[in-house]
Amino acid sequence: MLIAWIIILALLQVTVLRDLNLLLVLVILAGLRKGPAPALLMGASIGILVSIFSSSSMGFNLAFYSASGLLAGLISLRVYYKRNLYTDFLFSYCGVMLFYFILTGRFSPIIFSTAFCSAIFSPVLFRIIER
């Protein structure tokens, strides 16, 4: 079921919801709610899927998405995490912003809007994780 949801989200991301990165939010939420190991695996699977729809190299996507899941998982265990929608939103927002900052090397207005719009979906996406 989770795989089906991931494929649906990927299809939506490359067609209708073009400026969002829902798959990254999904990986971050997996890290926060399930811990580093499951998030690492989920990040790797999503990285492979994203590579199919992307022109960038497979290793790049695999590494970036896996690292995002792992980092989110480690932060939730070692630094801070409180299970509520606000914290999920905040972590998703910061996670997406950091991801695009590393990717592009700068904070542009489009990064802020992408992070905000993607993080808004975190209450919906966390239900997919909880399943």
Binding site: V14, D19, P36, L40, F53, L62, S76
Partner: protein, 258 residues
Amino acid sequence: MENSYKNLPLRKLLIFAACIILISQIFSSDFRIKILNIFRFPLKLVSGSYYVLRDIPDFKEIRKENKLLKENIGNLNGKLVDLKESRVENKRMRQLLGFRENKKRKIIPGMVIAREALGLGDTIVIDKGKAQGVYKGMVVISVSGLVGRVRESGRSISRAVLITHPDSVVGGIVQRTRDEGAIEGNMSSGVIMKYLELDSDVKEGDKIITSGFSGVFEKGILIGEVVSVEKDVSGLYLRAIVKPEVDLRRLEDALVIR
């Protein structure tokens, strides 16, 4: 959750990293485009539905535009007769001067069914591939101007790199002054025309077209309009920020030049 953290020793992470490297070597671009071909139908379905739904609010506007276009057809038909006359004359003159006739280009129309998965919008996926005659390296345009170039081609699907992609380089000339330069994609500014001479008279609003020097892009395809001109970092050349003529973010249809 505590257990999942403990289950992450260094050795497992190293094995995981090795797997990443291995998978990235196995998954060549040919293999990826083959898998992408499997998703062709759902992508086309979702994109097609999205385009229809997006156009519904503009329906009244489209009807008005359609009426206007029908009126214009009548006027254009008159001009077409004049053009045909000029063409015949041009052909005769070329023959007299010994010019070789350019090869007639064939255009393959396609629908944009997907975008870059990372949301940066630098590549598009078109629903036409090798089966329809679309191959790697072919030029992609739209009715307004240059779009990019085909990077990967599958059986019935292909991926094109847009002119805004950092890997994209196109030879261009300023239509008014005939100054030459290289049009490069840029993540922050969109498209930049580099290596313009310091004494160049390039101004805001000047149109940029393809130079055709590389032999890849044919000469005269409209690229965009100059937004601003400044000295580059070295101070030896000018560089112009160019606004692409095609609205690449809202692109629905693409034409591949064969």
